[in-house]
Amino acid sequence: MKDLLAKFTAVGRQHAELLAQVGSDPLGVRMDRVIGPTEAEIEGRRCVLLGSNNYLGLTFEPTALEGAHVALDAAGTGTTGSRVANGSYSMHQDLERQLAAFFRRRHALLFSTGYQANVGMLSAIAGRDDTVLIDSDCHASIYDGCKLSDATVQRFRHNDPENLDRRLARLQAPGNALVVIEGIYSMLGDRAPVREIAEVTRRHGAYLMVDEAHSLGVTGPGARGVAAEAGVADKVDFIVGTFSKSVGTIGGFCAADHDALEAIRLSARAYLFTASLPPAVVASARCTLERMRTDPGLRDRLWANAEIVYDGLARMGFELGPEKTPVIAVRMPDTQTGLATWRDLLDAGVYVNLALPPATPNGNCLLRCSVCAAHSADQLDHVLAAFARVADAPDWRGTAAE
């Protein structure tokens, strides 16, 4: 009998090599104690969290904690059912109405994660005769949703409306075309040129889906994301996103004006065949969404902090992502340096995400930093001092040593 699991041998070997090089597992970091939205104890050391995606620091928002406690006591720990069976509580529908109003859309659907929102929506709406065109830097959930659809899938060059234009112009498939982009891209932190892409998409009569996972709560009027920031939210057919970043909990959604969204409830398998969000999660999302909508000061603090970190790292000579946003990618010259630098930062009490290819664009090893509105000035001083020590070390092999 052949070995069913032989295909994992190479991955296992690569992981073992990673462990040997770093001395601990960068893909298995354990937070022993969460001290707050910006700090946790790791390996017995207090660390500033500079890789949490917790952009607004709302994981300990007092109204959300209180709302979650009340919901937990009133409705229990879980719904134990699908939205189309026993898993629809009034609070789920309230949250959908709140989301629809937040995005100024007629309809909103809740999913149990952001991953499922993309997989559920794409696999449901893209049919056999249709073509989905996705930005090359799109998240794995978008690729997976496409794979589960019966559609023809094309990948266009990242943030390149001309490349998209050429592809749309030559389409011969009899069905519809759907363009999928993200608001802020999760690895390099750059924004999509939504206005230009929306224009191209409209001109070719295609539909547009924007995943605002990293931009909801982060930018735009009413914290509605990059499409709203660019003034073209009305050109977006489907807004998808997640609660696991700025909203500070877990869950996913799609908001749209298309009335068919209600029928998609009965078609999207990632919606139908899974349990709905637990009451405490729904309650906390309702509170943090309201907080981010009504408190633009959160975004002001977030962007001020992003500027401090981006400018500080740029001054040290680190090679950064192309745009100053709360997602700051620090490019490492090679994987070995990336691993050593990641470990040095952790030893200095700074946690960042280690991002390795193929999850990163262009085969780069990145130290992916995400800034939080709740980072204090002292914490950011600490972060920048840690990076400065890395850059000044005699054995540092990156560009920042110059």
């Binding site: 496409c146 019966d150 899938v153 094309q154 592809r167 011969q172 498939a173 290819p357 193929p358 262009n362």
Partner: protein, 96 residues
């Protein structure tokens, strides 16, 4: 447009193989000689994203659009060349 109505002759397979090899040589850290039977992800240890990026170059060079759906079964340089050629023959766009 189901045939090459723009008048561009379908490129010779040899020309495509050479173009694929030239692109892959930029990522070839193994030092092995590239040929039609070379397994791109196996022998060259080039990941799936790099293969997709390679297609951008080939799409522009040969004025075609290759659906991602068709990349899954492609392993060797020769198979990539066949895929490119089939797209060029069909006028650059072939649905799944």
């Amino acid at each position: 447009m189901t045939e090459n109505t723009v008048g561009t002759p379908t490129p010779e397979r040899r020309e495509i193989v050479e173009a694929v090899c030239a692109e892959l040589e930029k990522h070839n850290t193994t030092g092995i000689q590239l040929h039609e039977e070379t397994d791109v992800t196996g022998e060259l240890a080039i990941d799936s994203v790099a293969v997709m990026d390679l297609m951008f170059e080939l799409e522009e060079r040969f004025d075609i659009a290759v659906p991602l759906n068709q990349l899954g079964s492609v392993r060797t340089i020769g198979q990539i060349a066949d895929l490119v050629r089939s797209q060029a023959k069909s006028g650059g766009q072939q649905t799944e």
